[in-house]
């Protein structure tokens, strides 16, 4: 089988003045992913290639990078689906480069934290000493389910044109998670999130380019989430019925 031409963008901000493209020949095998090819190059050709990965099954979101010009997960992209001849790996756009394909996700996670990505409840006592479970109906779950699939890989943010120009814009990942929690029937923190996002660099700066939804490897539609979030912020009303949030289901006595 013919070798794969693997081109990697190399750049060490400490030593290099500018990035350079370096080509490696990698023996192809059936079912090879881009991550497999990169690991082969790193293990057998050049140990100094910097890349980040972990689960190898599109669950952890560590190996996000730009592959043949499009943000993708290296572990989830087959070499064959790219034509099998040449693969170009570059770091994600919109992030500072730490080294080669490793980008700095610090501000990405800071923006995620800033939208309070957790259930906010008024019944602190119930949370400290639970007497039951917070209920969700299948209908309520379906409103947020797709948004819970986010693995925080950063691909959506790297593809966003607004993030490229406005460093204070939270980005599609954070905004979608803001909607995911505000639309959760068990949540009561919508007002807190609105206060953080209803400003001149917040949710309204989304131009609905839709590139975030196009590149998401988990099938999440952040562009939809942001539009739904806009409605929530505009009306100030929670996307779910208020009284649903206070339900606590208590398990019946077993009688044993």
């Amino acid at each position: 089988m013919k070798d794969l031409k693997l081109v990697v963008q190399r750049f060490d901000p400490v030593k290099d003045a500018s990035p350079k493209m370096v080509e490696y020949a990698v023996p192809k095998r059936e079912g090879m992913t881009v991550l497999d090819a990169l690991l082969y190059a790193r293990d057998y050709v050049d140990h100094s290639i910097g890349l980040r990965f972990s689960c190898r099954q599109a669950s952890c979101g560590s190996c996000g990078m730009k592959i043949n010009g499009r943000p993708r997960l290296a572990c989830y992209t087959q070499v064959e689906e790219l034509g099998g001849e040449k693969v170009v790996a570059q770091p994600m756009d919109n992030f500072a480069i730490i080294k080669d394909l490793v980008t700095d996700l610090g501000s990405f996670f800071d923006k995620h934290k800033a939208v309070t990505p957790r259930l906010v409840r008024e019944d602190g006592e119930e949370q400290e000493r639970p007497t039951g479970e917070y209920l969700m109906t299948p209908g309520e779950l379906s409103k947020v389910l797709q948004f819970t699939y986010c693995i925080k890989c950063g691909l959506c943010t790297s593809s966003c044109p607004t993030v490229a120009t406005d460093e204070r814009y939270p980005g599609p990942q954070a905004l979608t998670q803001a909607y995911r929690y505000s639309a959760d029937a068990r949540d009561q923190g919508g007002a807190e999130r609105i206060a953080a996002l209803d400003n001149s660099h917040g949710v309204w700066r989304c131009h609905f380019a839709g590139s975030c939804s196009y590149v998401c490897p988990k099938g999440v539609d952040p562009a939809l989430g942001i539009q739904l979030l806009k409605r929530h912020v505009m009306t100030g009303k929670p996307p779910h019925a208020k009284d649903e949030a206070s339900k606590v289901w208590k398990a019946p006595e077993s009688g044993r």
Partner: protein, 117 residues
């Protein structure tokens, strides 16, 4: 003012502008032929129609608010420092007030006979 209120204003003025500009263009074609619609006498007679003067004033305000608010949004995306944002907001209000006042002066003078045909 909260950004959501400004965006609501932006959406409302966009819809109103579409409607008012459409009425403006259609009126020109229906009441007067296009060839005479922009003659000085025709325009002055329109201004002296009270209802049409109110309509023109509304069109002026709607288009200027929408336009300058749109520029404000672009300038906010251009740079993100706090002083820049503050001056963009102040500048937008000043620009809207100044241009509405200037445009209104024309309408008011025409309505109350400041200009003659």
């Amino acid at each position: 003012m909260r950004e959501s209120r400004l965006m609501l204003l932006q959406y409302i003025t966009a819809l109103l502008a579409v409607a008012l500009v459409a009425v403006h263009l259609l009126t020109q074609g229906i009441i007067y032929p296009y060839s005479t619609a922009i003659s000085f006498g025709t325009i002055l007679s329109l201004y002296r129609n009270g209802l049409y003067a109110i309509f023109l004033e509304a069109l002026l305000v709607v288009v200027l608010v929408h336009g300058f608010n749109g520029v404000r949004i672009i300038l906010h995306e251009w740079r993100q420092t706090a002083p820049w944002s503050r001056w963009v907001d102040i500048g937008t209000v000043v620009a809207i007030v100044a241009t509405v006042a200037f445009g209104s002066k024309t309408v008011i003078l025409a309505v109350f006979g400041g200009a003659s045909g």
